[in-house]
Symmetry: C2
Subunit: 255 residues, 2 copies
């Protein structure tokens, strides 16, 4: 039974998230339905990261098992045909060993969060950025972010719904850059870790925005972290600036 790794791009807006749910559109459901057009189901696919409602992906990774020996490229084209007109596209496809697992084989997840920082609300970027109208002090946000990098108990920055066994994780990178665009200034948060807790990125960005706006001293981020208390977190920011941009594997199936 051949196994295929799929790299998936999607616009998260019309979906209740990655995970299949009864009576709600999901990205997983859309791909499983497309697979059922190729071979009779039921199909159950596993993904590297279960993104929330409204969260986008450039390079989500999932795997599926099929009966027939598909050519990986033809499989991608056939799935894209059946995914139309949903805003989901398979952008990479590769046959993998049968013990390869999109979630358990992954050793790194990479996220991007985009803030559009200008007075006027977004038009072309609506639903793809978090709009912040007041000025942000990027240097202060970087100071605050430094406290979060490394091995910590991230209880403060995880949703009370989080199902991870432990709140202790290592954040390998949290870098913040100012990106001039034709729409104005964007502020990009780039995060990299073996794995993330539920709502961790949005809890970080919502908290760091408070620092950038001047409401929080950068050191208050350290205090919040050390409190190990969800109540010490800043506001959780909206989902629609968040993108799963990459998943790392020891032996990248899409390289």
């Amino acid at each position: 039974m051949p196994r295929f790794a799929l790299q998936v791009e999607y616009d998260g807006r019309p979906f209740a998230g990655w995970q299949r749910q009864a009576d709600q559109p999901s990205v997983q459901g859309a791909i499983e339905d497309a697979l059922a057009k190729l071979e009779p189901g039921p199909h159950t696919i596993a993904a590297a990261g279960r993104t929330d409602a409204g969260v986008h992906a450039r390079a989500q990774v999932c795997h599926c098992d099929l009966q027939k020996p598909w050519d990986a490229f033809k499989l991608m084209s056939a799935l894209n045909h059946h995914l139309k007109p949903l805003p989901v596209a398979i952008v990479g496809s590769s046959e993998v060993d049968e013990d390869w697992h999109a979630r358990f084989s992954a050793h790194e997840r990479r996220y991007l969060f985009r803030i559009l920082n200008r007075r006027s609300r977004p038009t072309l970027e609506e639903g793809q950025v978090w709009h912040v109208a007041h000025p942000l002090d990027v240097e202060a946000m970087r100071e605050g972010a430094k406290h979060l990098i490394g091995l910590h108990d991230f209880t403060t920055f995880r949703s009370t719904m989080c199902q991870a066994a432990s709140p202790v994780k290592t954040l390998d990178e949290l870098s913040i850059s100012e990106v001039p665009t034709t729409a104005g200034l964007e502020i990009h948060f780039y995060l990299r870790a073996r794995s993330f807790l539920h709502n961790q990125v949005r809890s970080f960005v919502g908290t760091l925005e408070r620092v950038g706006a001047g409401g929080w001293h950068p050191d208050k981020v350290r205090e919040a972290l050390e409190a190990k208390d969800r109540a010490a977190c800043g506001p959780v920011c909206p989902p629609h600036g968040l993108y799963l941009v990459g998943v790392g594997y020891p032996d990248d199936p899409f390289a």
Copy 2:
């Protein structure tokens, strides 16, 4: 009667174009309706470029006449409030002389056309790029584009609906760049001229795409131009990769 210049960004998808039309949504109509919330109308605004259905703008420019001495910044905020939730935003506002005219004072229009050049169809960029799935030879397109720069009779490259008095125009710039993005390779066409004919940019890009795909030799662009015959044009490409990105004035009101 104070006159204000407004710089306008919009997503062209939900509109039948810039120009107000009976029973069809238009960007002009949206802004005139917002103005009527501030001061009793009717209001009639004039724009630098009347974009077609599906064409976007980063920096369209129009002007309006008001009764009251508005603060330009407050006017922008009030209009943006009333434009919600339409994907139209006033991103610049400035009081100008009463003989200043958004269309007639302009001495330059700048357009960007975006091709997303990858196998899989777009998701997050749907409606904001022209998707071309086959490889394009950018160097060949540049060779073809050279024939179009300068003063020419552009009869071949204008819509039969074009109302301009003369097909003779000067194209100051048509540069083509390869832009790597998180979605894959984009090809950007940047065009600059005092003014453009109806469908001129889309006629250029549709023709140059044929060159990039290998169907046309670059010299065929010169032959098409010299034919001064609409029938010699390549296919007119779709509108949704096109952006009005700037309008030049002798004394920039937004500088």
